[in-house]
């Protein structure tokens, strides 16, 4: 059997989390969704084993929920590393202790991605809805760096924290991190219940990127914007210090996501299951008509826009989270505060 080449896969090891972030886009946290906790080492290992049988994967990014509290997480990492895959971990910085990070680094984890949403602890804790989470996250960053690990920080830009973004970046720089992902709040999951509290105006979002661009100029930090943002909302040419990572139309370049039941989704934000690796191979999964829709279907809002082949109407997985189809543009455009 010919193996599918997959540069990158996101693996959701568990749906369980110890924080309750207002912006959390986890699909199982949408209002009204029955959230049956998924947390099984056996199932996770079985899914990884099947994945490696079907596909030639280069990199596995572990996420959740909070991966560090998933059952026998380090063994899952070990299993993956022994198959010579690069491993990175998206964690909330509240699930592990220094000795856990130490072991993960010894196992060869390449990169840890942790949130520091603000230099003001209360604002970070307001977003995570857990007091003390900022302190733990900052401590985790320091621990990982002291152990020789690589860290990239994440700031989710919301109404709550956009004003202090420059100070936040400088704070992150001061604790030794040079790379930051600036992800605008992407509507979905728990975030669907907090739209009014979190969504910025177009001007506020642009102000955040302007300030971040300035901070990058002053500090030399490497910044990227990783949530696909409509160009009519933010024109990244104006912020040349921020690398803009739009969604690709090539399925292999998308953040293909696997859960422990074997379900494959096109990205971790999308609730639509493309197929299941225990039932189909990737060739069949990638032939889906639905996938073609991502490039072929032009939302009415974008009709006639020359930029569609670059921005694809923003994140339409967010439209799906709101119960719409690919015919709808990114809901951030319709929910924007006037």
């Amino acid at each position: 059997m010919k193996k599918q080449k997959l540069p990158f896969i996101i693996f959701e090891t568990t749906s369980v989390c110890n924080l309750n972030c207002k912006y959390c886009y986890n699909i199982w946290k949408r209002p009204g969704e029955v959230d049956e906790p998924k947390n099984s080492y056996r199932k996770a290992r079985r899914a990884l084993k099947r994945l490696f049988r079907l596909a030639d994967v280069e990199q596995v990014t572990f996420t959740g929920g909070e991966p560090l509290i998933s059952e026998r997480f380090q063994e899952l990492v070990l299993f993956t590393r022994l198959r010579k895959k690069y491993v990175s971990i998206i964690t909330n910085g509240n699930g592990g202790k220094k000795e856990d990070y130490h072991m993960l680094i010894r196992l060869g984890c390449e990169l840890f991605e942790l949130p520091i949403h603000s230099n003001i602890p209360e604002n970070h804790d307001n977003l995570s809805q857990i007091k003390g989470s900022w302190e733990k996250s900052v401590q985790s960053v320091k621990d990982i760096l002291s152990l020789g690990g690589n860290v990239v920080c994440v700031i989710v830009i919301t109404k709550i924290n956009y004003k202090e973004i420059k100070e936040t970046l400088k704070f992150i720089r001061s604790i030794g991190v040079n790379r930051v992902m600036l992800n605008r709040y992407n509507i979905g999951g728990t975030g669907l219940s907090y739209i009014n509290e979190l969504v910025t105006t177009k001007e506020e979002l642009n102000e955040a990127f302007r300030l971040a661009n300035e901070a990058a100029e002053e500090t030399g930090m490497k910044l990227s914007s990783n949530v696909c943002t409509p160009i009519c909302l933010v024109d990244f040419k104006q912020y040349p210090k921020i690398a803009w990572a739009p969604c690709s139309s090539n399925v292999l370049n998308k953040p293909i996501t696997l859960d422990i039941e074997g379900n494959i989704r096109m990205c971790n934000h999308s609730p639509i299951v493309l197929g299941n690796i225990f039932k189909e191979n990737f060739e069949t999964i990638f032939k889906s008509e639905y996938l073609k829709g991502w490039t072929d279907i032009v939302p009415e809002f974008c009709n006639g826009c020359d930029l569609f082949d670059k921005c694809f109407g923003g994140c339409r997985a967010a439209s799906e989270q709101m119960g719409f189809t690919l015919h709808e543009v990114d809901p951030v455009l319709t929910c924007l505060k006037k």
Binding site: Q4, K5, P7, Y41, R72, Q74, E75, L78, R81, L82, M103, R106, L107, G108, P240, A243, W244, A245, P246, S248, S249, N250, L252, N253, T295, D309, K310
Partner: protein, 187 residues
């Protein structure tokens, strides 16, 4: 403990590394790893076994990567190992490359140990090919371990693309290396 001891010991005695590693340590660790994994399978809640399994696994990973570094280790008694065949390297520290059009319209890099029938590239965005071609060695022939090459970008390119490299004829589903190419102009 055992694994840590060996790891530290061989780091102090580099000349002994290869022999110890090849004939004793890795096989021994692998056997111990299989045994512990089996015991853990029977007693999944045993924390001590779990700890041992992780330590052994970490030692195997560390030692395996030590073994990989041997490949480029040159001593007076052994010739240099061959470089990995057909690997593409660009003059950048990560997997993305920024081209400032104010400064250059060329991408430069090298191919290590070039042994394929031909080398090709494609610059694509969203499955559309914007530029493609055969990569020629800068000095005219693929006859050294590290062969420099240069790609001149078309004037019409601007913004973000994927730059894909192929050893042998390109196809849609496999490439040998991929870089994010960001073509910019500072006004």
């Amino acid at each position: 403990m055992f694994a840590r001891f060996f790891y530290l010991w061989i780091n102090k005695n580099p000349m002994e590394k290869e022999k110890v590693f090849g004939y004793i340590v890795l096989p021994a660790l692998s056997v111990a790893f299989v045994v512990i994994s089996f015991l853990l399978f029977i007693n999944p809640k045993n924390a001590r076994l779990l700890k041992r399994k992780l330590h052994l696994g970490a030692a195997i990973i560390a030692l395996t990567s030590i073994s990989l570094t041997f490949q480029s280790c040159v001593t007076c008694y052994e010739p240099a190992q061959e470089l990995p065949p057909n690997e593409f390297f660009l003059n950048t520290e990560n997997d993305s490359i920024n081209i400032l059009l104010n400064e250059t319209n060329k991408i430069t890099g090298y191919i290590s140990n070039p042994v394929a029938s031909g080398f090709y590239y494609r610059i694509i965005r969203d499955e559309l090919i914007y530029q493609s071609g055969k990569i020629e060695a800068l000095d005219g022939a693929y006859n050294s371990d590290m062969e420099d090459f240069e790609i001149t970008l078309n004037d019409s390119l601007y913004g973000l693309y994927d730059l894909l490299f192929y050893s042998g004829r390109p196809d849609e589903y496999s490439y040998d290396a991929k870089y994010v190419l960001n073509i910019l102009e500072i006004k």
